[in-house]
Protein backbone atom coordinates (compact mmCIF):
# COMPACT_ATOMS: atom_id res chain seq x y z
CA UNK A 1 0.00 0.00 0.00
CA UNK A 2 2.79 2.34 0.93
CA UNK A 3 4.54 1.54 -2.32
CA UNK A 4 1.36 2.25 -4.32
CA UNK A 5 1.36 5.73 -2.85
CA UNK A 6 4.30 6.53 -5.12
CA UNK A 7 2.04 5.91 -8.11
CA UNK A 8 -0.59 8.20 -6.66
CA UNK A 9 2.06 10.83 -6.07
CA UNK A 10 3.22 10.45 -9.67
CA UNK A 11 -0.31 10.98 -10.98
CA UNK A 12 -0.75 14.11 -8.87
CA UNK A 13 2.63 15.47 -9.96
CA UNK A 14 1.85 14.91 -13.64
CA UNK A 15 -1.48 16.71 -13.35
CA UNK A 16 0.15 19.62 -11.55
CA UNK A 17 2.87 19.74 -14.17
CA UNK A 18 0.32 19.96 -16.98
CA UNK A 19 -1.60 22.76 -15.28
CA UNK A 20 1.49 24.76 -14.41
CA UNK A 21 2.98 24.39 -17.88
CA UNK A 22 -0.28 25.47 -19.50
CA UNK A 23 -0.19 28.58 -17.37
CA UNK A 24 3.48 29.17 -18.03
CA UNK A 25 3.29 28.84 -21.80
CA UNK A 26 -0.15 30.15 -22.50
CA UNK A 27 -2.37 28.99 -25.32
CA UNK A 28 -2.07 31.86 -27.72
CA UNK A 29 0.29 31.75 -30.67
CA UNK A 30 2.86 34.39 -29.79
CA UNK A 31 3.04 37.27 -32.23
CA UNK A 32 6.55 37.87 -33.50
CA UNK A 33 8.11 40.64 -31.48
CA UNK A 34 10.71 41.48 -34.06
CA UNK A 35 10.66 44.75 -35.85
CA UNK A 36 9.89 44.43 -39.55
CA UNK A 37 12.18 46.80 -41.23
CA UNK A 38 12.82 47.13 -44.90
CA UNK A 39 16.07 48.95 -45.54
CA UNK A 40 15.96 50.58 -48.99
CA UNK A 41 19.21 49.79 -50.71
CA UNK A 42 18.30 49.85 -54.41
CA UNK A 43 15.41 50.38 -56.82
CA UNK A 44 12.74 47.75 -56.27
CA UNK A 45 10.43 46.56 -59.10
CA UNK A 46 7.53 48.78 -57.96
CA UNK A 47 9.88 51.74 -57.87
CA UNK A 48 11.18 50.90 -61.32
CA UNK A 49 7.63 51.02 -62.61
CA UNK A 50 7.00 54.28 -60.79
CA UNK A 51 10.11 55.75 -62.32
CA UNK A 52 9.05 54.69 -65.80
CA UNK A 53 5.57 56.13 -65.38
CA UNK A 54 6.95 59.52 -64.36
CA UNK A 55 8.93 60.10 -67.53
CA UNK A 56 6.33 62.45 -68.90
CA UNK A 57 8.49 65.41 -69.78
CA UNK A 58 9.19 65.22 -73.48
CA UNK A 59 12.22 67.29 -74.40
CA UNK A 60 12.12 69.48 -77.44
CA UNK A 61 14.15 67.71 -80.13
CA UNK A 62 16.76 69.95 -81.83
CA UNK A 63 17.21 69.98 -85.59
CA UNK A 64 20.93 69.19 -85.23
CA UNK A 65 20.23 65.91 -83.54
CA UNK A 66 17.82 64.83 -86.18
CA UNK A 67 20.20 65.60 -89.06
CA UNK A 68 23.23 64.14 -87.33
CA UNK A 69 21.45 60.89 -86.74
CA UNK A 70 21.75 60.98 -82.97
CA UNK A 71 19.06 59.40 -80.94
CA UNK A 72 16.77 62.13 -79.56
CA UNK A 73 16.83 62.52 -75.74
CA UNK A 74 14.40 60.30 -73.78
CA UNK A 75 11.39 61.58 -71.78
CA UNK A 76 12.29 62.61 -68.26
CA UNK A 77 10.72 63.03 -64.86
CA UNK A 78 9.77 66.72 -64.65
CA UNK A 79 10.42 66.90 -60.89
CA UNK A 80 13.97 65.65 -61.29
CA UNK A 81 14.51 67.92 -64.26
CA UNK A 82 13.39 70.90 -62.20
CA UNK A 83 15.85 70.16 -59.42
CA UNK A 84 19.06 72.17 -59.04
CA UNK A 85 21.87 70.69 -61.09
CA UNK A 86 25.19 69.18 -60.01
CA UNK A 87 26.60 67.15 -57.15
CA UNK A 88 27.06 68.60 -53.74
CA UNK A 89 23.57 70.07 -53.62
CA UNK A 90 20.84 69.33 -51.10
CA UNK A 91 17.38 68.06 -52.11
CA UNK A 92 15.03 65.69 -50.28
CA UNK A 93 11.94 64.18 -51.89
CA UNK A 94 8.96 62.93 -49.89
CA UNK A 95 6.67 60.56 -51.76
CA UNK A 96 3.50 62.03 -50.28
CA UNK A 97 1.21 59.52 -51.94
CA UNK A 98 3.18 56.53 -50.58
CA UNK A 99 3.57 58.09 -47.15
CA UNK A 100 -0.13 58.84 -46.91
CA UNK A 101 -0.87 55.09 -47.18
CA UNK A 102 1.92 53.99 -44.86
CA UNK A 103 1.55 53.21 -41.13
CA UNK A 104 3.57 56.33 -40.37
CA UNK A 105 1.31 58.36 -42.61
CA UNK A 106 -1.73 56.90 -40.88
CA UNK A 107 -0.29 58.01 -37.54
CA UNK A 108 0.37 61.50 -38.82
CA UNK A 109 -3.08 61.74 -40.38
CA UNK A 110 -4.65 60.61 -37.15
CA UNK A 111 -2.64 63.28 -35.40
CA UNK A 112 -3.75 65.92 -37.88
CA UNK A 113 -7.39 64.86 -37.62
CA UNK A 114 -7.36 64.93 -33.83
CA UNK A 115 -5.62 68.30 -33.71
CA UNK A 116 -8.19 69.70 -36.06
CA UNK A 117 -7.72 69.87 -39.80
CA UNK A 118 -8.98 73.36 -40.29
CA UNK A 119 -5.81 74.23 -42.16
CA UNK A 120 -6.40 71.47 -44.67
CA UNK A 121 -10.08 72.33 -44.97
CA UNK A 122 -9.21 75.97 -45.60
CA UNK A 123 -6.74 74.95 -48.28
CA UNK A 124 -9.41 72.87 -49.93
CA UNK A 125 -11.99 75.61 -49.89
CA UNK A 126 -9.84 78.62 -50.70
CA UNK A 127 -7.20 77.11 -52.96
CA UNK A 128 -9.19 74.25 -54.44
CA UNK A 129 -6.33 71.92 -53.48
CA UNK A 130 -6.69 68.86 -51.25
CA UNK A 131 -3.18 68.03 -49.97
CA UNK A 132 -4.28 64.55 -48.97
CA UNK A 133 -5.39 63.71 -52.48
CA UNK A 134 -3.70 66.07 -54.91
CA UNK A 135 -0.08 66.03 -53.69
CA UNK A 136 2.21 63.42 -55.25
CA UNK A 137 5.68 64.48 -54.19
CA UNK A 138 7.11 67.20 -51.99
CA UNK A 139 10.71 68.30 -52.58
CA UNK A 140 12.61 70.29 -49.98
CA UNK A 141 15.78 72.18 -50.86
CA UNK A 142 17.67 74.98 -49.11
CA UNK A 143 16.24 77.34 -51.65
CA UNK A 144 12.62 76.42 -51.07
CA UNK A 145 10.05 73.76 -51.68
CA UNK A 146 8.46 72.11 -54.69
CA UNK A 147 5.24 70.14 -54.79
CA UNK A 148 4.13 67.91 -57.66
CA UNK A 149 0.60 66.63 -58.13
CA UNK A 150 -2.72 67.42 -59.81
CA UNK A 151 -3.61 71.07 -59.51
CA UNK A 152 -6.15 71.57 -62.29
CA UNK A 153 -8.75 72.89 -59.84
CA UNK A 154 -6.29 75.09 -57.93
CA UNK A 155 -6.99 78.78 -57.42
CA UNK A 156 -3.45 80.02 -56.88
CA UNK A 157 -4.50 83.68 -56.95
CA UNK A 158 -6.14 83.31 -53.56
CA UNK A 159 -2.88 82.05 -51.92
CA UNK A 160 -0.73 85.13 -52.48
CA UNK A 161 -3.38 87.89 -52.61
CA UNK A 162 -0.99 90.82 -52.95
CA UNK A 163 1.25 89.04 -55.43
CA UNK A 164 1.80 90.05 -58.97
CA UNK A 165 1.71 87.27 -61.52
CA UNK A 166 3.10 86.85 -64.98
CA UNK A 167 3.66 84.09 -67.44
CA UNK A 168 7.09 82.60 -67.92
CA UNK A 169 7.99 80.34 -70.79
CA UNK A 170 5.41 78.01 -72.37
CA UNK A 171 3.65 76.70 -69.32
CA UNK A 172 4.89 78.65 -66.36
CA UNK A 173 3.38 81.30 -64.20
CA UNK A 174 5.29 83.20 -61.53
CA UNK A 175 3.67 84.92 -58.55
CA UNK A 176 5.74 87.47 -56.63
CA UNK A 177 4.86 88.97 -53.28
CA UNK A 178 7.34 91.62 -52.21
CA UNK A 179 8.64 91.95 -48.66
CA UNK A 180 6.25 93.88 -46.39
CA UNK A 181 6.32 95.86 -43.20
CA UNK A 182 3.12 96.08 -41.19
CA UNK A 183 2.42 98.05 -38.05
CA UNK A 184 0.51 96.09 -35.46
CA UNK A 185 -2.01 97.55 -32.98
CA UNK A 186 0.46 97.13 -30.12
CA UNK A 187 2.98 99.40 -31.87
CA UNK A 188 5.38 96.72 -33.07
CA UNK A 189 6.30 96.32 -36.68
CA UNK A 190 5.87 92.96 -38.37
CA UNK A 191 8.16 92.29 -41.28
CA UNK A 192 7.49 89.56 -43.79
CA UNK A 193 9.91 88.37 -46.39
CA UNK A 194 9.38 88.29 -50.09
CA UNK A 195 7.58 85.20 -51.38
CA UNK A 196 7.79 83.73 -54.84
CA UNK A 197 5.61 80.97 -56.17
CA UNK A 198 5.87 79.32 -59.54
CA UNK A 199 3.29 77.06 -61.13
CA UNK A 200 4.17 74.93 -64.10
CA UNK A 201 1.70 73.05 -66.27
CA UNK A 202 -0.78 72.60 -63.36
CA UNK A 203 1.48 69.83 -62.05
CA UNK A 204 4.38 71.54 -60.32
CA UNK A 205 4.30 74.30 -57.73
CA UNK A 206 7.47 75.90 -56.41
CA UNK A 207 7.88 78.09 -53.35
CA UNK A 208 10.95 80.15 -52.57
CA UNK A 209 12.41 83.54 -52.01
CA UNK A 210 14.21 83.99 -55.29
CA UNK A 211 12.54 84.56 -58.67
CA UNK A 212 15.76 83.55 -60.41
CA UNK A 213 15.67 80.07 -58.90
CA UNK A 214 12.10 79.57 -60.10
CA UNK A 215 12.89 80.87 -63.58
CA UNK A 216 15.90 78.56 -63.82
CA UNK A 217 13.73 75.64 -62.88
CA UNK A 218 11.24 76.55 -65.58
CA UNK A 219 14.08 76.86 -68.09
CA UNK A 220 15.26 73.33 -67.25
CA UNK A 221 11.74 72.01 -67.63
CA UNK A 222 11.23 73.62 -71.03
CA UNK A 223 14.63 72.79 -72.46
CA UNK A 224 16.15 76.24 -72.30
CA UNK A 225 18.78 75.12 -69.79
CA UNK A 226 20.71 71.90 -69.28
CA UNK A 227 18.97 69.37 -67.05
CA UNK A 228 21.07 66.29 -67.54
CA UNK A 229 22.86 66.39 -64.17
CA UNK A 230 20.14 66.77 -61.54
CA UNK A 231 20.93 66.74 -57.84
CA UNK A 232 19.01 63.46 -57.58
CA UNK A 233 19.44 60.97 -60.40
CA UNK A 234 16.75 58.52 -61.48
CA UNK A 235 18.58 55.53 -60.00
CA UNK A 236 18.53 57.26 -56.61
CA UNK A 237 14.72 57.55 -56.47
CA UNK A 238 14.04 54.55 -54.23
CA UNK A 239 12.36 54.63 -50.86
CA UNK A 240 9.44 56.66 -49.57
CA UNK A 241 11.77 59.52 -48.72
CA UNK A 242 15.03 60.01 -50.58
CA UNK A 243 17.49 62.73 -51.32
CA UNK A 244 20.99 64.06 -51.08
CA UNK A 245 22.61 66.27 -48.49
CA UNK A 246 25.60 68.51 -49.09
CA UNK A 247 28.48 68.44 -46.61
CA UNK A 248 27.49 71.82 -45.16
CA UNK A 249 23.84 70.86 -44.67
CA UNK A 250 24.86 67.50 -43.24
CA UNK A 251 27.10 69.22 -40.72
CA UNK A 252 24.21 71.47 -39.68
CA UNK A 253 22.01 68.43 -39.03
CA UNK A 254 24.48 66.60 -36.77
CA UNK A 255 23.99 67.51 -33.06
CA UNK A 256 26.37 70.11 -31.67
CA UNK A 257 27.60 67.64 -29.05
CA UNK A 258 29.23 65.70 -31.85
CA UNK A 259 31.44 68.61 -32.92
CA UNK A 260 34.38 66.31 -33.56
CA UNK A 261 32.29 64.17 -35.86
CA UNK A 262 31.11 67.27 -37.69
CA UNK A 263 34.68 68.34 -38.29
CA UNK A 264 35.61 64.87 -39.52
CA UNK A 265 32.72 64.92 -41.96
CA UNK A 266 33.81 68.29 -43.27
CA UNK A 267 37.38 67.13 -43.72
CA UNK A 268 36.40 64.14 -45.83
CA UNK A 269 33.93 66.20 -47.84
CA UNK A 270 31.20 63.76 -46.90
CA UNK A 271 28.07 63.66 -48.96
CA UNK A 272 25.02 61.70 -47.99
CA UNK A 273 22.47 59.93 -50.10
CA UNK A 274 19.47 59.33 -47.88
CA UNK A 275 16.68 56.75 -48.31
CA UNK A 276 13.82 55.95 -45.98
CA UNK A 277 11.28 53.12 -46.22
CA UNK A 278 8.02 53.64 -44.35
CA UNK A 279 6.00 50.63 -45.47
CA UNK A 280 6.17 49.10 -41.99
CA UNK A 281 8.63 50.26 -39.36
CA UNK A 282 10.81 53.10 -40.57
CA UNK A 283 14.06 51.96 -42.11
CA UNK A 284 16.65 54.55 -43.02
CA UNK A 285 19.82 54.13 -45.01
CA UNK A 286 22.37 56.89 -45.39
CA UNK A 287 25.02 56.17 -48.01
CA UNK A 288 28.03 58.34 -47.19
CA UNK A 289 30.79 59.04 -49.69
CA UNK A 290 33.79 61.31 -49.42
CA UNK A 291 37.05 62.41 -50.94
CA UNK A 292 39.42 60.34 -48.77
CA UNK A 293 38.46 56.63 -48.52
CA UNK A 294 40.78 55.90 -45.60
CA UNK A 295 39.59 58.81 -43.52
CA UNK A 296 36.06 57.96 -44.50
CA UNK A 297 36.46 54.48 -43.01
CA UNK A 298 37.66 56.05 -39.80
CA UNK A 299 34.62 58.30 -39.80
CA UNK A 300 32.44 55.24 -40.28
CA UNK A 301 34.03 53.50 -37.32
CA UNK A 302 33.74 56.65 -35.27
CA UNK A 303 30.04 56.88 -36.13
CA UNK A 304 29.53 53.25 -35.20
CA UNK A 305 31.26 53.88 -31.91
CA UNK A 306 29.23 57.02 -31.32
CA UNK A 307 25.99 55.12 -31.87
CA UNK A 308 27.10 52.34 -29.53
CA UNK A 309 28.11 54.85 -26.89
CA UNK A 310 24.85 56.67 -27.35
CA UNK A 311 22.99 53.44 -26.73
CA UNK A 312 25.05 52.68 -23.65
CA UNK A 313 24.48 56.19 -22.40
CA UNK A 314 20.73 55.84 -22.93
CA UNK A 315 20.74 52.53 -21.07
CA UNK A 316 22.66 54.03 -18.17
CA UNK A 317 20.26 56.95 -17.98
CA UNK A 318 17.29 54.64 -18.15
CA UNK A 319 16.05 55.91 -21.51
CA UNK A 320 14.87 52.54 -22.71
CA UNK A 321 13.08 53.94 -25.73
CA UNK A 322 16.16 55.61 -27.13
CA UNK A 323 18.24 52.57 -26.31
CA UNK A 324 15.82 50.33 -28.17
CA UNK A 325 15.88 52.64 -31.19
CA UNK A 326 19.67 52.77 -31.26
CA UNK A 327 19.75 49.00 -31.11
CA UNK A 328 18.88 48.92 -34.77
CA UNK A 329 21.65 51.27 -35.77
CA UNK A 330 24.68 49.92 -37.58
CA UNK A 331 27.42 51.05 -39.92
CA UNK A 332 28.27 48.93 -42.96
CA UNK A 333 31.74 49.77 -44.18
CA UNK A 334 32.39 49.70 -47.93
CA UNK A 335 35.46 50.27 -50.05
CA UNK A 336 35.19 54.03 -50.45
CA UNK A 337 31.98 54.68 -48.60
CA UNK A 338 29.88 53.42 -45.74
CA UNK A 339 26.20 52.90 -45.10
CA UNK A 340 24.60 53.99 -41.90
CA UNK A 341 21.39 52.11 -41.20
CA UNK A 342 18.87 52.97 -38.53
CA UNK A 343 15.39 51.77 -37.81
CA UNK A 344 12.59 53.44 -35.97
CA UNK A 345 10.03 50.95 -34.72
CA UNK A 346 6.44 51.96 -35.29
CA UNK A 347 5.80 51.56 -31.59
CA UNK A 348 8.39 54.25 -30.93
CA UNK A 349 6.69 56.62 -33.31
CA UNK A 350 3.34 55.85 -31.74
CA UNK A 351 4.78 56.79 -28.38
CA UNK A 352 6.23 60.00 -29.79
CA UNK A 353 2.85 60.93 -31.29
CA UNK A 354 0.92 59.89 -28.19
CA UNK A 355 0.22 63.54 -27.45
CA UNK A 356 -2.04 63.53 -30.50
CA UNK A 357 -4.43 61.21 -28.72
CA UNK A 358 -5.15 63.87 -26.14
CA UNK A 359 -8.27 65.83 -27.08
CA UNK A 360 -7.47 69.42 -28.09
CA UNK A 361 -8.64 72.18 -25.74
CA UNK A 362 -12.11 73.60 -26.40
CA UNK A 363 -10.81 76.99 -27.46
CA UNK A 364 -7.87 75.67 -29.46
CA UNK A 365 -7.13 76.15 -33.16
Amino acid sequence: MRRRSWLVAAAVLFMLAAVVMLYGQGEVVPAPATVEVEFPRQLRPAEQERLQSRRTLRPVPSVDMATQGRRPPQPRDPVLAALPQGRGRTAVVLEANALRHSPVGALLLECINRQGNQGLERMRQELGVNPLEDFDRVVVTPEGMMVSGHFQEARWDSLLRDASSRSYGDKGRIFEQPARRRSLPDGTVQESRAHVMGVWDEQLVMFGESVTEVQQAFDRLEGRAAADNPAIREEQTFGDIYGVLSPEDLARLVPRQQAELVEQLRQVGAQVELHVDARSDLGMVAHVTGTDPRKLQDVGKAMGGALALGRLDAQVKGDERLASVLEFARVQPGLASFNLEMALPLSFLEEQLAFCRKQPDAGGP
Binding site: L7, A9, G24, A33, A308, E327
Partner: protein, 278 residues
Protein backbone atom coordinates in the same frame (compact mmCIF):
# COMPACT_ATOMS: atom_id res chain seq x y z
CA UNK B 1 19.04 13.45 2.72
CA UNK B 2 22.65 12.59 3.44
CA UNK B 3 22.47 9.07 1.95
CA UNK B 4 20.95 10.61 -1.21
CA UNK B 5 23.88 12.97 -1.53
CA UNK B 6 26.35 10.20 -0.80
CA UNK B 7 24.93 8.09 -3.61
CA UNK B 8 25.07 11.11 -5.93
CA UNK B 9 28.67 11.72 -4.95
CA UNK B 10 29.58 8.11 -5.68
CA UNK B 11 28.01 8.42 -9.13
CA UNK B 12 30.11 11.51 -9.78
CA UNK B 13 33.26 9.81 -8.53
CA UNK B 14 32.58 6.84 -10.77
CA UNK B 15 31.83 9.06 -13.74
CA UNK B 16 35.02 11.03 -13.15
CA UNK B 17 36.97 7.81 -13.40
CA UNK B 18 35.48 7.01 -16.79
CA UNK B 19 37.63 7.93 -19.73
CA UNK B 20 34.81 9.46 -21.74
CA UNK B 21 34.09 11.97 -18.98
CA UNK B 22 37.64 13.17 -19.23
CA UNK B 23 37.30 13.23 -23.01
CA UNK B 24 34.15 15.34 -22.72
CA UNK B 25 35.77 17.98 -20.58
CA UNK B 26 38.89 17.98 -22.69
CA UNK B 27 36.74 18.38 -25.76
CA UNK B 28 34.88 21.37 -24.35
CA UNK B 29 38.15 22.92 -23.23
CA UNK B 30 39.64 22.33 -26.67
CA UNK B 31 36.78 24.09 -28.41
CA UNK B 32 37.05 27.04 -26.06
CA UNK B 33 40.80 27.29 -26.50
CA UNK B 34 40.46 27.05 -30.27
CA UNK B 35 37.82 29.76 -30.27
CA UNK B 36 39.87 32.02 -28.03
CA UNK B 37 42.87 31.64 -30.32
CA UNK B 38 41.09 31.93 -33.64
CA UNK B 39 38.43 34.54 -32.94
CA UNK B 40 39.60 38.14 -32.93
CA UNK B 41 37.24 40.95 -32.17
CA UNK B 42 38.02 44.64 -32.69
CA UNK B 43 35.98 46.72 -30.33
CA UNK B 44 35.99 50.50 -30.57
CA UNK B 45 34.05 52.64 -28.09
CA UNK B 46 31.72 49.80 -27.34
CA UNK B 47 31.08 49.04 -31.01
CA UNK B 48 32.25 45.89 -32.76
CA UNK B 49 34.25 47.26 -35.66
CA UNK B 50 35.63 44.05 -37.14
CA UNK B 51 35.89 40.35 -36.42
CA UNK B 52 38.22 37.69 -37.72
CA UNK B 53 38.03 33.92 -37.53
CA UNK B 54 41.29 32.11 -38.29
CA UNK B 55 42.54 35.35 -39.82
CA UNK B 56 39.65 35.59 -42.27
CA UNK B 57 37.79 38.84 -41.93
CA UNK B 58 34.13 38.19 -41.26
CA UNK B 59 31.74 40.64 -42.79
CA UNK B 60 30.45 42.58 -39.86
CA UNK B 61 28.68 45.83 -39.58
CA UNK B 62 29.91 48.36 -37.09
CA UNK B 63 27.34 48.34 -34.34
CA UNK B 64 27.11 48.05 -30.58
CA UNK B 65 29.06 44.97 -29.54
CA UNK B 66 26.24 43.36 -27.57
CA UNK B 67 23.90 43.81 -30.54
CA UNK B 68 26.51 42.63 -33.03
CA UNK B 69 27.24 39.50 -31.01
CA UNK B 70 23.58 38.59 -30.58
CA UNK B 71 23.65 36.11 -33.46
CA UNK B 72 26.70 34.45 -31.92
CA UNK B 73 25.08 34.39 -28.51
CA UNK B 74 21.84 33.03 -29.99
CA UNK B 75 23.59 30.26 -31.88
CA UNK B 76 25.67 29.43 -28.82
CA UNK B 77 22.56 29.26 -26.69
CA UNK B 78 20.91 26.85 -29.14
CA UNK B 79 24.08 24.74 -29.29
CA UNK B 80 24.45 24.68 -25.53
CA UNK B 81 20.77 23.84 -25.06
CA UNK B 82 20.11 21.23 -27.72
CA UNK B 83 23.67 20.00 -27.96
CA UNK B 84 23.81 19.62 -24.22
CA UNK B 85 20.55 17.68 -24.17
CA UNK B 86 21.58 15.42 -27.02
CA UNK B 87 24.96 14.71 -25.55
CA UNK B 88 23.50 14.15 -22.12
CA UNK B 89 21.03 11.61 -23.50
CA UNK B 90 23.72 9.63 -25.28
CA UNK B 91 26.40 9.90 -22.61
CA UNK B 92 24.21 9.24 -19.59
CA UNK B 93 21.94 6.52 -20.96
CA UNK B 94 23.94 3.69 -19.38
CA UNK B 95 24.00 4.88 -15.79
CA UNK B 96 20.56 3.47 -15.11
CA UNK B 97 21.17 0.04 -16.66
CA UNK B 98 24.57 -0.11 -14.93
CA UNK B 99 22.89 0.52 -11.61
CA UNK B 100 20.80 -2.60 -12.19
CA UNK B 101 23.69 -4.78 -13.33
CA UNK B 102 23.69 -8.24 -11.69
CA UNK B 103 26.20 -8.27 -8.87
CA UNK B 104 25.86 -4.54 -8.43
CA UNK B 105 22.21 -4.06 -7.67
CA UNK B 106 22.16 -6.82 -5.07
CA UNK B 107 25.17 -5.33 -3.37
CA UNK B 108 23.67 -1.84 -3.40
CA UNK B 109 20.32 -3.04 -2.11
CA UNK B 110 22.08 -4.82 0.75
CA UNK B 111 23.53 -1.51 1.93
CA UNK B 112 21.74 0.55 4.59
CA UNK B 113 20.02 2.71 1.95
CA UNK B 114 16.37 3.04 1.15
CA UNK B 115 15.54 2.24 -2.42
CA UNK B 116 14.24 5.68 -3.21
CA UNK B 117 17.52 7.12 -1.88
CA UNK B 118 19.46 4.87 -4.22
CA UNK B 119 17.38 5.86 -7.21
CA UNK B 120 17.21 9.52 -6.29
CA UNK B 121 20.93 9.67 -5.63
CA UNK B 122 21.70 8.09 -9.00
CA UNK B 123 19.43 10.59 -10.72
CA UNK B 124 20.96 13.49 -8.84
CA UNK B 125 24.52 12.41 -9.59
CA UNK B 126 23.90 12.01 -13.31
CA UNK B 127 22.02 15.30 -13.49
CA UNK B 128 24.83 17.13 -11.70
CA UNK B 129 27.34 15.64 -14.13
CA UNK B 130 25.37 16.83 -17.17
CA UNK B 131 24.81 20.26 -15.62
CA UNK B 132 28.50 20.59 -14.79
CA UNK B 133 29.43 19.95 -18.41
CA UNK B 134 26.96 22.52 -19.73
CA UNK B 135 27.96 25.13 -17.16
CA UNK B 136 31.65 24.58 -17.85
CA UNK B 137 31.20 25.21 -21.56
CA UNK B 138 28.89 28.18 -21.09
CA UNK B 139 31.05 29.78 -18.41
CA UNK B 140 34.02 29.39 -20.71
CA UNK B 141 32.17 31.12 -23.52
CA UNK B 142 31.12 33.93 -21.16
CA UNK B 143 34.73 34.41 -20.11
CA UNK B 144 35.88 34.36 -23.72
CA UNK B 145 33.44 37.05 -24.83
CA UNK B 146 34.16 39.12 -21.76
CA UNK B 147 37.90 39.13 -22.28
CA UNK B 148 37.81 39.53 -26.04
CA UNK B 149 34.97 41.98 -26.49
CA UNK B 150 34.35 43.41 -23.07
CA UNK B 151 30.90 41.87 -23.23
CA UNK B 152 30.16 40.35 -19.84
CA UNK B 153 26.87 38.54 -20.12
CA UNK B 154 25.41 35.64 -18.19
CA UNK B 155 23.27 34.71 -21.21
CA UNK B 156 25.15 31.49 -22.08
CA UNK B 157 25.13 30.44 -18.43
CA UNK B 158 21.38 30.97 -18.23
CA UNK B 159 20.98 28.86 -21.35
CA UNK B 160 22.98 26.10 -19.68
CA UNK B 161 20.83 26.29 -16.56
CA UNK B 162 17.64 26.04 -18.58
CA UNK B 163 19.08 23.08 -20.45
CA UNK B 164 19.94 21.53 -17.10
CA UNK B 165 16.38 21.80 -15.83
CA UNK B 166 15.06 20.36 -19.08
CA UNK B 167 17.55 17.49 -18.97
CA UNK B 168 16.37 16.62 -15.48
CA UNK B 169 12.90 15.89 -16.84
CA UNK B 170 14.22 13.91 -19.78
CA UNK B 171 16.64 11.88 -17.68
CA UNK B 172 13.93 11.07 -15.17
CA UNK B 173 12.07 9.33 -17.99
CA UNK B 174 15.24 7.58 -19.14
CA UNK B 175 16.08 6.29 -15.67
CA UNK B 176 12.53 5.12 -15.04
CA UNK B 177 12.52 3.31 -18.39
CA UNK B 178 15.71 1.50 -17.42
CA UNK B 179 13.93 0.15 -14.35
CA UNK B 180 11.36 -1.52 -16.57
CA UNK B 181 13.74 -2.75 -19.26
CA UNK B 182 17.41 -2.80 -18.41
CA UNK B 183 18.75 -1.44 -21.68
CA UNK B 184 20.94 1.58 -22.38
CA UNK B 185 19.74 1.66 -25.98
CA UNK B 186 16.09 1.79 -24.97
CA UNK B 187 16.88 4.43 -22.38
CA UNK B 188 18.60 6.57 -25.00
CA UNK B 189 15.79 6.00 -27.47
CA UNK B 190 13.16 7.11 -24.97
CA UNK B 191 15.25 10.12 -24.05
CA UNK B 192 15.51 11.09 -27.71
CA UNK B 193 11.79 10.51 -28.09
CA UNK B 194 11.09 12.79 -25.13
CA UNK B 195 13.31 15.44 -26.69
CA UNK B 196 11.41 15.29 -29.96
CA UNK B 197 8.03 15.29 -28.23
CA UNK B 198 9.20 18.21 -26.12
CA UNK B 199 10.11 20.18 -29.23
CA UNK B 200 6.64 19.54 -30.65
CA UNK B 201 4.98 20.38 -27.34
CA UNK B 202 6.84 23.69 -27.23
CA UNK B 203 5.17 24.68 -30.49
CA UNK B 204 1.79 23.13 -29.67
CA UNK B 205 -0.08 26.41 -30.05
CA UNK B 206 1.30 26.95 -33.55
CA UNK B 207 0.86 23.33 -34.61
CA UNK B 208 -2.64 22.91 -33.24
CA UNK B 209 -4.03 25.63 -35.48
CA UNK B 210 -2.90 23.57 -38.45
CA UNK B 211 -5.08 20.68 -37.37
CA UNK B 212 -8.71 20.30 -38.20
CA UNK B 213 -10.80 21.85 -35.42
CA UNK B 214 -12.56 19.20 -33.43
CA UNK B 215 -11.37 15.87 -32.14
CA UNK B 216 -7.90 15.83 -33.72
CA UNK B 217 -7.00 19.27 -32.45
CA UNK B 218 -8.40 18.51 -29.02
CA UNK B 219 -6.54 15.21 -28.87
CA UNK B 220 -3.28 16.84 -29.90
CA UNK B 221 -3.64 19.58 -27.30
CA UNK B 222 -4.55 17.06 -24.61
CA UNK B 223 -1.60 14.82 -25.39
CA UNK B 224 0.92 17.62 -25.53
CA UNK B 225 -0.38 19.34 -22.40
CA UNK B 226 1.67 17.05 -20.19
CA UNK B 227 4.91 17.00 -22.19
CA UNK B 228 7.72 19.37 -21.11
CA UNK B 229 7.93 22.34 -23.50
CA UNK B 230 11.50 21.77 -24.58
CA UNK B 231 11.49 24.07 -27.61
CA UNK B 232 9.80 26.87 -25.66
CA UNK B 233 12.57 26.67 -23.09
CA UNK B 234 15.18 26.59 -25.86
CA UNK B 235 13.72 29.75 -27.37
CA UNK B 236 13.62 31.35 -23.94
CA UNK B 237 17.28 30.48 -23.40
CA UNK B 238 18.14 32.12 -26.73
CA UNK B 239 16.19 35.21 -25.75
CA UNK B 240 17.96 35.36 -22.41
CA UNK B 241 21.34 34.91 -24.06
CA UNK B 242 20.62 37.71 -26.53
CA UNK B 243 19.15 39.95 -23.80
CA UNK B 244 15.81 40.01 -25.60
CA UNK B 245 12.37 39.73 -24.11
CA UNK B 246 11.21 36.21 -23.30
CA UNK B 247 7.93 35.63 -25.09
CA UNK B 248 6.27 33.59 -22.39
CA UNK B 249 3.56 34.48 -19.89
CA UNK B 250 5.68 33.00 -17.15
CA UNK B 251 9.06 31.35 -17.59
CA UNK B 252 9.16 30.38 -13.93
CA UNK B 253 5.86 28.53 -14.25
CA UNK B 254 7.10 26.67 -17.27
CA UNK B 255 10.25 25.65 -15.44
CA UNK B 256 8.24 24.60 -12.42
CA UNK B 257 6.06 22.48 -14.67
CA UNK B 258 9.08 20.76 -16.17
CA UNK B 259 10.45 20.06 -12.69
CA UNK B 260 7.09 18.63 -11.58
CA UNK B 261 7.01 16.42 -14.65
CA UNK B 262 10.47 15.11 -13.82
CA UNK B 263 9.43 14.42 -10.25
CA UNK B 264 6.37 12.57 -11.50
CA UNK B 265 8.50 10.38 -13.75
CA UNK B 266 10.87 9.69 -10.87
CA UNK B 267 7.94 8.80 -8.65
CA UNK B 268 6.93 6.14 -11.18
CA UNK B 269 10.52 4.95 -11.14
CA UNK B 270 10.57 4.72 -7.35
CA UNK B 271 7.35 2.74 -7.40
CA UNK B 272 8.86 0.32 -9.89
CA UNK B 273 12.10 0.10 -7.91
CA UNK B 274 10.26 -0.53 -4.64
CA UNK B 275 8.06 -3.18 -6.20
CA UNK B 276 10.71 -4.94 -8.17
CA UNK B 277 12.68 -8.10 -7.42
CA UNK B 278 16.34 -7.98 -8.37
Amino acid sequence: MRPLLEVAWQVLVEAAQRKWTLALFLGITGVLVLLSWSLQLEVLDGALAASRLFGVVLRSDIRAVDVALRPLLSVSAYLIFYGGLGFGIIACCDFGPNLLAPGRIEHLLSLPLRRWQLLGGTFLGVWMLALAGALYGSAGLTLLLGLKAGLWTVGPVLAALLAGVTFAAIYAVMLTAALFVRSAALSAALGSGMLLLGIIAGYRAQISVLLEPGFSRMAFRAMTALIPRVSALADASVALAASSAVELPSLWSLLAGVVLFGMGALAVGVWRFEEGDF
